[in-house]
Amino acid sequence: MAELELLPIPTRILTNKDDIVEAIVEFAGPYIGPEDIVCVAESVVAITQGEFTRPEDLKVSWQAKFLNRFIHPDGSMASVYGMQAAMDKEGEWKMMFAFFCGAVAKVFKKSGVFYQMARTASLTDDVTGTMPPFDKCIVYGPKQPHAVADAIMKATGAYGACVADVNDLKRAAILGHSRGLKPQQIAQILIDNPFGNDSQMTPIVVIKNYASVSKRRV
C-alpha cells in the first residue's frame, strides 16, 4: 500500500534568469507522478521572479527607522532595511497605519494584526533569510503564487502543486496552491521543513502518493 513520502529535490542555485516552472520540470520531472504534489519554496519562486533587493539600494525613510524599533528581533522587520523593503511595496503610511492598528489590537490581546494588514511584511525575508548568493539580499514574497502553482501542476502532470513558506521554527504556510488541495493539510505535512533553509539546495519537495493516501483517509 502506497504511503506518503517526502522527496527533497536538489537543484543548482536558481536565479532571476531561471523560470521556476522550467526548473522544476528539469530537476524534478523524472520523480513526479500523477499521484504526487510538487511543493516549491516561496523564496526561490520570488528569486526567479526577481522579487529581491539589496539593502544598499534602499533609501531608508523615517517611518522605517521608527517602526523597526518595535519589532521583535527575530522578525525580518526588525531591521530598517527589511522594514523599508516592505514599505516600498506596501507604502510607508499603510505600514504605519497597520502598525498602529496592530498595537491597538495587542491591547485587546489580539496578535498578528500588523502582519495581516501589511501582507508584504510577513512574506519578506531579511538578509540571511536565504542561501548564498541571496543571503545578502532582502527577498520579498512571490508574485501570484496560485498561478505559479497551477502552471507547475500543468507542466509536470502532478496531482497538485503548491508554493510553501516553511522554516525550521515549525512554521509552515501555503501561499499558493492548485485547485482542490487542502493548504492546511499540506502545511502540516511540510512542518518539519524538508526544504532546509540553509545550504541544502533542495527548494523542491515532492509529496509522493498524496492523492491515493488522501483518498484512503477520506
Binding site: P55, E56, V60, K65, F66, N68, R69, P73, A78, S79, V80, Y81, D126, V127, T128, P132, P133, D135, K136
Partner: protein
Amino acid sequence: MYIYTLIDTLVWIACIIAIIYIAYRIFAWRQGNEEIVIMVKRRTPFVVEDISFDQVVLSTDIPFVNRGKQYGTIMDMFPRHLLPQEQFDNVRIQSWLTDAKAERHDGYWEALVYKQRQGSTIRLRIVMTANSGNIRKDLVGFPDMPIDIYHQVVGREAYRISKTRITLTAEELEVAMRK
C-alpha cells in the same frame, strides 16, 4: 481671540510631538544596537598551515563577539593586506578569510545573525608565493604587513562598514617559518 486659541493649539501639538519624539529617542537609546567587536588582541599567532618550495600558507584565528544589546548581522567580511611593491616586491600575496566554525574555501562570507554575547572565530589565511621560486629566500627582509579586516554589519540601525587592523610582523613570520 481666535488667534490666541490657534497659537495655543499649535503650541500644544508641537509639545506633544516633541514629547513623543523625546520618548522615542530615549526608547531607542535604551534599546541600543549591535556591537560586533573583532578581538584582535586575542588572535592566535600566525602559523604555517602549508609550505612548498615556492609557496607558504599562513593562518591566524581571530575571535569576535556581539557585545551590543541587539542582534547583529555580519553581511560581509573580507581582508585587505597592505604591502606596496615599493616596500617589498619579492612575493605575491593573497589573503582571504572564513568563519572557522563553518569553513568555506571560496572567500565568500555568508551573512549570519549573531545574537547578544554570541560570536565566532575568523580564520584568516595569507598565501605567499615567491617571485624567484624559493619562498624561504624571498621572505628574507619581509617587513611588518598590516591587514585590514573590513566588515559590513547591520543591527537595528543603518549598516556600517568598519575595518579592524592586525599586523603580521616580521618577527611573527620568522617564528612561524622556523616552526
